[in-house]
Symmetry: C2
């Protein structure tokens, strides 16, 4: 019918935005497992109104080239207002990022694409949904997605639903033990030596004077980093009991040490930190290799996750009508 | 109909077992908000077969006095096998408790009450469900229930579903920071100074030589305990983003210091540990008083939770038929 979008002969087309602190990635796809029909990116900058106008114009152009968008998905840096009952639903709330505090991400999209359902969640919940539907956590109802890069963030599912709550998880800011020989006070302006304050890319750079990519494979910092990662992932395992942890972000690539070796060390430290308390074969070798894994969607995790949010918004709206 | 239990004129009657490491509490009720029709308790001991036979006999006697049980609920100490697809579903798994490892809690109930649906979950998820339906977390879809007593355990809901996963949460064993002046190595045989190793009743007793109830209100240990509790609850808040934390167990009563004052200090330490990072009014005074609260069901939390598991099993079975 003419007034229903994406219900023609063609498969419904989805538009998505991965809203990051550095860049906004936009994409359209009818089937994310088959890749994107088009992809574009824009610098985030400090003028949300202008940027969102560019994003809407690009998406509208895609409609003209292909066919109308059936739904949209937005996976964004935060903190976000995710409570649909709140008058501020759809906003970035208290970010220190110039220009972006209290920015309403959804209003311009609603104006540009009236009637189209819009899925909205955190960047890490988006990536979690993408990895759950098309990547490393396929078919699992209880899992965690972590990114360790400029900051540390986590999202995930419990019993098949993305983790929300009072606000949304801020897993990078959990309290951490101190290793005996460690005097580093951490880089987090709020908590000093929380997980992000100890293990993010900037924390590693401040400790060593080098970016992760430049660190020699025998640098002692890799082992310390692996120990802290082990403690943090053990804490997540105790709180959430995930069936899998997908560990993404740039730090995990571990430069000259290599991703495979870094994961091997983190798995070993995770098992040590758990101390054999949780009696599951998935938390011991060899199955531990499938418990803690890198993402499968690579650099597309964010935009594929945002497309998955669009798919879910479309499915919800279809059930309602 | 004659073959359907609890579908007569009377409201369906539920039977429940709160299976603890020290005692098993049994109860029957048609409406837990109105209390129990009958309640009995048995020492746990080291002979599960004999104990479960006593429990079944008591429940069968209740059927004769009232009317047939429509469903049963079991909330148990663990670790438990909660995966309904596992051939070991319904068992206590690796407990060091003599006689109880690999004990199948549900088989004797299935034999004694054929055809009756049985809800099964951890003691803390049971208590969480009870507090969520009838107590301090009424109406919330995302919350945590913590007990601090002989051990520390946690359960809760995310998006309205009890937390399960690979096994089930073991929140008492999260990694903890060390306070500067603290040399205590903790009491946990697996992790030393995890949350349980630092803040459980036995940890407090080992530090001070006294039980919590005997500690003077000006004993410095109360402040240290409150600080550690603040860190642990901040970590849970970062991982799960609960809308409320219900803190139960014996230690929270805080002897001569008093529950209200102990909660006041823990709330203050929780806010300090979060450092203002999560911008929600619920994490600041005065709403923080409603974020961290004691349970409302008191000593009945466990058995009411087990009854709520029975209600849910009954509702699921009714939807299926």
């Amino acid at each position: 019918m003419g007034t229903e979008f994406g219900r023609g002969n063609a498969a419904p087309l989805f538009g998505a935005i991965e809203a990051g602190g550095t860049k906004f990635v936009c994409g359209v796809s009818a089937d994310p497992s088959q890749g994107l029909l088009a992809r574009e990116q824009f610098s985030t900058g400090d003028d949300p109104e202008r940027l969102l106008a560019q994003v809407c114009a690009w998406l509208a152009d895609q409609e003209r080239r292909h066919h109308p968008l059936a739904a949209l998905g937005v996976a964004s840096f935060g903190p976000l207002e995710l409570d649909v009952r709140s008058p501020h639903y759809g906003r970035i709330t208290t970010t220190p990022k110039p220009g972006w505090a209290q920015c309403d991400l959804l209003a311009p999209l609603r104006r540009a694409f009236p009637g189209r359902p819009i899925g909205f969640d955190t960047d890490v919940n988006g990536a979690a949904l993408g990895e759950g539907r098309y990547g490393a956590a396929r078919g699992l109802e209880d899992f965690v997605y972590i990114t360790v890069g400029t900051g540390i963030g986590g999202g995930g599912m419990a019993r098949g639903a993305l983790l929300h709550g009072l606000v949304h998880p801020e897993m990078g800011h959990i309290a951490m033990p101190r290793l005996d020989d460690d005097t580093f006070e951490g880089t987090c302006p709020f908590h000093g030596r929380c997980w992000e304050g100890l293990c993010s890319g900037p924390a590693l750079a401040q400790r060593t004077g080098m970016a992760a990519e430049q660190l020699a494979p025998d640098h002692p910092e890799w082992d310390r980093l692996a120990r802290y990662m082990g403690y943090a992932l053990a804490t997540l395992t105790c709180v959430l009991s995930p069936r899998r942890i997908v560990l993404g972000g740039s730090v995990r690539k571990a430069g000259a040490l290599g991703e495979a070796e870094f994961f091997r060390r983190i798995r070993s430290e995770l098992a040590s930190a758990l101390g054999g308390y949780i009696a599951s074969p998935h938390l011991r070798a060899p199955l531990l290799d499938e418990f803690l894994v890198p993402p499968k969607l690579g650099d597309n995790a964010g935009i594929v996750g945002a497309l998955a949010l669009a798919q879910d918004a479309y499915a919800r709206a279809s059930r309602t009508h």
